[in-house]
């Protein structure tokens, strides 16, 4: 996807005009989400932090019950892009988004959308494990309690911990503080915490960067297993991981702007993972996935 673009900020179609279109794919990424129904349509999205443009002109189509991987060098805007999907960037006062991201055809950024409702359906696991200073049990129960889910809480906690491959390690100390867990256990706890509210989409920002290969393998199995009921977007620096688990893969890179000497993230290529790793259309993708980047 190396559509030529002007250097100026493009003007956008009005937000409302696109938001109701069922199919948001356009341009040359026609191979979009294939046969799967579309969950997210990303159209011409640019994100700014104050006057600094962190990513520009991104188009993506995220299919239901698919795993989409975001790969690319550090600082190219993967986290920034990921946080747009559940409006976490709203919490950064300087952050601003242009373009549209639609969720089942509804523009997430249109007037009247409540970010709290968005985040209940689109969960997130952060780059750095961030357990709450509460017990393991209360960490998992936090989301369900906030959402006032009814049902057997003990059961729910066990389920979530089992799915995140953590149950056996913590079942005898559910009342202990979560901060006492190892880094990898903390990250799995955060995954369990996100699963406990039963979201439709899970956004994972490098969930395995603090995990050993065995725990990583478990998380990958977990993703494979829950894929039938969740849509997952995962940011990863691990090429093998992207190749192993994802159905589709988006490669971002940072482009140096000659006039202002800032780096802006762009989406280089977005395609089926198989194709991205075996026969990418763009030379930059090929260099990156084969380790010849730079």
């Amino acid at each position: 996807m190396s559509r030529p673009r002007g250097t100026t900020v493009p003007t956008h179609e009005t937000v409302a005009a696109v938001s109701t279109r069922p199919d948001l794919r356009r341009g040359d990424e026609g191979e979009g989400a294939g046969s799967k129904p579309l969950v997210f349509g990303v159209e011409d999205v640019s994100v700014y932090y104050g006057g600094f443009r962190a990513v520009r002109n991104v188009d993506l189509a995220i299919g239901q019950q698919e795993i989409t991987a975001f790969i690319g060098p550090s600082g190219c805007g993967k986290t920034t892009m990921l946080r747009c999907f559940n409006r976490m960037n709203d919490l950064i006062p300087s952050a601003r988004i242009e373009g549209t991201i639609s969720y089942h055809g509804v523009n997430l950024y249109e007037d009247g959308v409540n970010p709290v409702e968005v985040r209940r359906r689109i969960g997130m696991v952060f780059q750095k494990p961030n357990p709450f200073p509460k017990s393991i049990y209360d960490n998992i129960a936090y989301g369900p309690r906030i959402a006032r889910l009814d049902g057997d809480m003990d059961e729910l906690v066990e389920q979530a911990l089992r799915r995140a491959a953590l149950w056996d390690e913590v079942k005898d100390r559910l009342k202990d503080l979560a901060m006492g867990l190892s880094g990898g256990q903390q990250q799995r706890l955060c995954i369990a915490r996100a699963l406990a509210v039963d979201p439709e989409v899970i956004l994972m920002d490098e969930p395995c960067s603090a995990l050993d290969p065995i725990a990583t393998g478990r998380i990958e199995d977990l993703m494979e297993e829950i894929k039938s009921s969740y849509t997952i977007i995962i940011v990863t620096h691990n090429m093998q991981q992207a190749a192993r688990v994802s159905d589709r893969c988006a490669f971002f890179t940072a482009e140096v702007n000659e006039t202002s000497d800032t780096r802006t993230g762009i989406l280089v290529e977005f395609d089926r993972t198989e194709k991205m790793f075996s026969n990418p259309a763009d030379e930059r993708t090929e260099n990156y996935v084969t380790g010849r980047f730079g």
């Binding site: 559940n86 976490m88 919490l91 006062p93 709290v116 409702e117 985040r119 209940r120 359906r121 969960g123 997130m124 952060f126 750095k128 961030n130 357990p131 709450f132 200073p133 509460k134 936090y142 989301g143 906030i146 959402a147 503080l177 979560a178 901060m179 006492g180 955060c190 915490r193 996100a194 509210v197």
Partner: protein
């Protein structure tokens, strides 16, 4: 060459040991260490002398007539004088500070840190609250006199403990706001992000993440400001605390007479300390010990509560 055990490096273990054991003489380090220790000792010695002086000075009063000292009223004769009226005034000032300065102060801090947009207006307000904290207490006394004794005399009854209590609550309000805001600012942003990421609202994040984490810091700040309010004399004199003898002696919890003339421990201490009769010197020391005991008790309660919160924080 085949891979086997590494060859001896040629440096003798003895030489390595000599280097590793080498003690470099670190003069600046030692000087700083001693200076820091001396500063601590200096503070401790000053405090110790002060407490010893007070306790030994007031000891006779406690030993001979502890109960009548606490329950007695202000008299001409030192042997009959007590601090009942002053205790009552100080107690109610504490109640006003806890009931007004704590909730409004913590509320303002939460608003500034969690709700207010980060813009110029917020920063200007923030700076002004810091400036208010530095305003001399006498200025608050003048404000209290003008507003609560004169303008709002219908509500406060004029020169009453109500006027005094509200004045001191306002006096410590900026300090409560600043310390609470400081504690809230120290809450790791990860916690907020985690809460929001699970679909919590702003109030839910504030209630379940921010306030529990900030509680120990908020507690420390509020109790210190309470101690400050209980020790203030100057603003109370301006709002009309009775310096000298006070006719009435209502009960400790007699709410109906809150709009009457009053006095408080720091006022009584100031008054007794200025009297020429040597007998009152012992009473002064005893009254100061009582103030210290109250402040210590408040601090101890705060420390206990803080430990409970901190052990949860992990």
């Amino acid at each position: 060459m085949s891979i086997s055990a590494p060859l001896s490096s040629g440096i003798s273990a003895e030489a390595v040991r000599r280097r590793l054991h080498g003690q470099r003489f670190d003069l600046p380090g030692i000087v700083v260490h001693v200076a820091l220790l001396l500063s601590l000792l200096f503070s401790l010695v000053v405090l110790g002398v002060l407490v010893y002086d007070l306790v030994s000075g007031g000891w006779d009063v406690f030993a001979s007539r502890f109960a009548s000292f606490l329950s007695g009223t202000m008299r001409f004769a030192a042997s009959e004088s007590g601090i009942a009226q002053a205790l009552r005034g100080t107690l109610w000032i504490g109640v006003f500070v806890v009931a007004l300065a704590f909730p409004f102060g913590i509320g303002a801090a939460v608003y500034l840190e969690e709700y207010a947009p980060d813009n110029r207006l917020t920063r200007v307000i923030d700076i002004n609250i810091r400036n208010l904290a530095g305003v001399p207490s006498i200025v608050y006394g003048i404000l209290g006199f003008a507003v609560f004794v004169k303008t709002l005399s219908g509500l406060t009854g004029g020169r009453s403990v109500i006027a005094g209590g509200i004045t001191l609550a306002i006096l410590v309000l900026p300090v409560v706001i600043i310390t609470a805001a400081e504690a809230i600012r120290a809450v790791p942003d990860d916690l907020r992000q985690g809460g929001y990421g699970l679909g919590a609202t702003r109030w839910e994040v504030t209630r379940t993440q921010v306030l529990p984490y900030a509680a120990p810091g908020i507690l420390t700040g509020t109790v210190l400001s309470l101690a400050r309010a209980l020790g203030e004399a100057a603003p109370l004199i301006l709002v009309g605390a009775v310096v000298g003898r006070l006719g009435s002696n209502p009960g400790l919890f007699d709410i109906g007479s809150l709009d009457q003339r009053f006095t408080a421990l720091p006022i009584v201490i100031t008054y007794w300390a200025g009297l020429p009769q040597p007998d009152f010197r012992a009473l002064t020391a005893a009254a100061i010990v009582v103030v210290l005991a109250i402040v210590l008790a408040a601090n101890a309660a705060a420390i206990l509560m803080r430990n409970r919160y901190e052990s949860k924080r992990g």
